[in-house]
């Protein structure tokens, strides 16, 4: 289940997230925290989706994690659609990453693979 990026692969640029945990205040739409936040993980071909993993998620602040969820959704919903609406609400995706990334062994798990599976079964979930 690879992610296909819209442009050819180019040299990676590291933009590692840093600091913060879930005690950070939530990012507010249009607020300064979200405006400044960058998605977590290694950026390749303009996106973190291919490489962001649970280690990156753990290192991110709440605001960084939230913009990461949005970036994941943008690429993991129908590319021919006008928007990136998903049956998996962003808040629920955030909760799932928080839980799935917690075990010691989970650091290398790719966020996009977790997202795609959770999204697939989201309409059956509570």
């Amino acid at each position: 289940m690879p992610v296909r990026l819209a442009v050819a692969l180019v040299g990676a640029v590291l933009l590692g997230g840093c600091g913060g945990d879930d005690k950070d205040p939530p990012a507010r739409a249009g607020g300064s925290a979200e405006e400044k936040a960058e998605s977590v993980g290694r950026r390749s071909a303009g996106s973190v989706v291919q490489f962001a993993d649970c280690d990156d998620w753990r290192r991110g602040s709440r605001a960084e994690r939230e913009v990461t969820v949005v970036e994941l959704r943008d690429q993991l919903t129908i590319q021919s659609a006008r928007s990136s609406a998903s049956p998996l609400p962003d808040d629920r995706a955030y909760e799932i990453f928080q839980k799935a990334c917690k075990p010691d062994f989970a650091g290398s798990l790719r966020l996009y693979k977790l997202y795609a599976r959770a999204q697939g079964f989201a309409p059956l979930n509570e």
Partner: protein, 474 residues
């Protein structure tokens, strides 16, 4: 390489490992199997639209992503190639036709050793664009796929044949899915054929802190084959043994679960999108009744026959490399080597024409074939059927009854790992007990009451309602 037609690369040594295309660095150890401590390139060898490419007799090692990567290529032959320690996939083909990978060997992939994804619609949904269809467009044969998260994977792997391979020592041996419909043309996946393979001891637990291969994916440890949403598949004449959870899993992925398809806002933060459907056009020929209009397009008309489950071929010996990463396995001298359960089916309501027949179980008879499996640590809801379809002659007799316990189980597993180990929690992230052991028996008995309690709860009723809504198009 880009648009070089045709091209051929052949290693000049007597063995494939004599010529290494290497993207790794800082190796621990020596020799071709040495593990890289880092990577210098994303992809070792990339061939896009390179029709007629032939690669033979070399090793692709140490890619940050893939060993071999091709897109939109008509005609590729990889022969006697190896894929070692590529962090994501050893081999990845996408939207490519007339593709053959044979006599290959690979390990050390965090996802899969071999991955043909978004394969062309040359199966049940073929149009006159492919006048020679139905046919396989990709063939994987005579390979060893081992020591990885998955030996084989293919999202939207239409018309792929997997034959005469050894697939062992992975977390899960083979996975074909429709979960990742976005970005993958060819929905729904159909016409996979898996035949004459040896699929065994896929019990490698990578969900531990000291895992020898970093897992990128979440799959059930101890499983031979997973079909997550496929139609018209044929699984036959394989030896499938010593997979401690399930030999073969089949479950549905309804369309509504794979695409943003609603006139109502579905995201808290984003507005209405009336776009609907899977990526690209859904071609006619979907085997599920009423599909694709009713939104239930996967897990119909699959057949499983003439497989030897839990039995070991005469003269079989484990390959030396099965112990490379310490996968759990049976003792070689012991026969048979049962799977935890032979065939697992979610029995999703309305799924039709799925048939299991002429298979034999661990004692060599049809009576010893086990299925349709339980809901993880808890039993499925009776009758837990595994339709025989009158020996394959009456497919109309097979329709899923719906099993709320199994759907709850799949939902929980879809959310990835956690540290919860209760009776209703997903159990994919640990090695199952050896089939037939006291631990295996005790697990089943101790959790049975929890399943019965769950079936009576309000949560179970809500899940039934959501399944009914999906089926009715609500």
């Amino acid at each position: 390489m880009r648009q070089v037609q045709p091209a051929e690369m052949e290693g000049s040594g007597p063995r494939p490992t004599d010529v290494k295309l290497d993207a790794g660095k800082d190796y621990t150890g020596t020799g071709p199997s040495a593990k890289p401590g880092g990577h210098t390139k994303h992809v070792v060898l990339r061939v896009d639209r390179g029709d007629g490419f032939v690669g033979r007799n070399f090793l692709m090692r140490g890619g940050l992503e893939f060993g071999f990567y091709t897109e939109e290529t008509d005609g590729v032959l990889l022969d006697k190639t190896k894929f070692y320690w590529n962090a994501d996939y050893g081999h990845l083909s996408f939207t490519s036709d007339h593709h053959v990978v044979k006599n290959c060997d690979g390990f050390g992939a965090g996802d899969a050793v071999v991955y043909p994804g978004a394969a062309p619609e040359t199966g049940a949904q073929a149009t006159d664009f492919y006048p020679d269809a139905p046919r396989a467009n990709t063939v994987i044969k005579q390979c060893d796929m081992r020591g990885s998260g998955l030996g084989y994977s293919g999202s939207m792997g239409n018309g792929v044949r997997i034959t005469n391979n050894h697939i062992y020592g992975n977390s899960t041996g083979i996975a074909t899915d429709t979960l990742s419909a976005a970005g993958h043309p060819g929905f729904p996946a159909d016409s996979s054929e898996i035949d004459n393979n040896l699929i065994y001891s896929n019990n490698l637990n990578l969900y531990r802190k000291d895992a020898p291969v970093k897992p990128l994916i979440t799959v059930p440890v101890g499983t031979g084959i997973i079909y997550a949403g496929i139609n018209d598949a044929r699984v036959h004449d394989n030896w499938i043994f010593d997979n401690w959870r399930d030999g073969v899993m089949l479950f549905a992925v309804p369309d509504a679960l794979t695409s943003a398809c609603s006139g109502e806002p579905q995201s808290v933060k984003f507005g209405t999108d009336t776009s609907c459907g899977a990526e690209g056009e859904v071609l006619p020929g979907v085997s599920c009744a009423g599909a694709p209009a009713n939104g239930l397009s996967t897990s119909c008309n699959n057949r499983f026959y003439n497989n030897k489950m839990g039995q070991v071929p005469p003269g079989f010996k484990f390959p030396t490399m099965i112990d490379q990463f310490g996968t759990s396995r049976s003792i070689e001298a012991v026969r048979p080597m049962p799977n935890g359960n032979d065939f697992w089916w979610d029995e999703f309501s309305s799924n039709r024409w799925n048939c299991w027949y002429s298979n034999t179980g661990e004692d060599g008879t049809g009576a010893s074939v086990s299925g349709a499996g339980e809901a993880g640590r808890t039993p499925g809801v009776p009758p837990n059927a595994l339709p025989n379809c009158a020996g394959g002659g009456n497919r109309e007799s097979s329709v899923g009854n719906g099993d709320v316990a199994k759907e709850r189980y799949l939902v929980d597993c879809s959310e990835g790992p956690d540290e919860e180990t209760g009776p209703l929690d997903c159990d994919w992230w640990s090695t199952p007990p050896r089939p037939g052991s006291a631990a295996a028996v005790n697990n089943s008995a101790s959790f049975a009451r929890a399943a019965r309690r769950f079936a009576k709860t309000a949560r179970a009723q809500r899940l039934r309602s959501r399944m009914a809504d999906l089926i009715s198009g609500g």
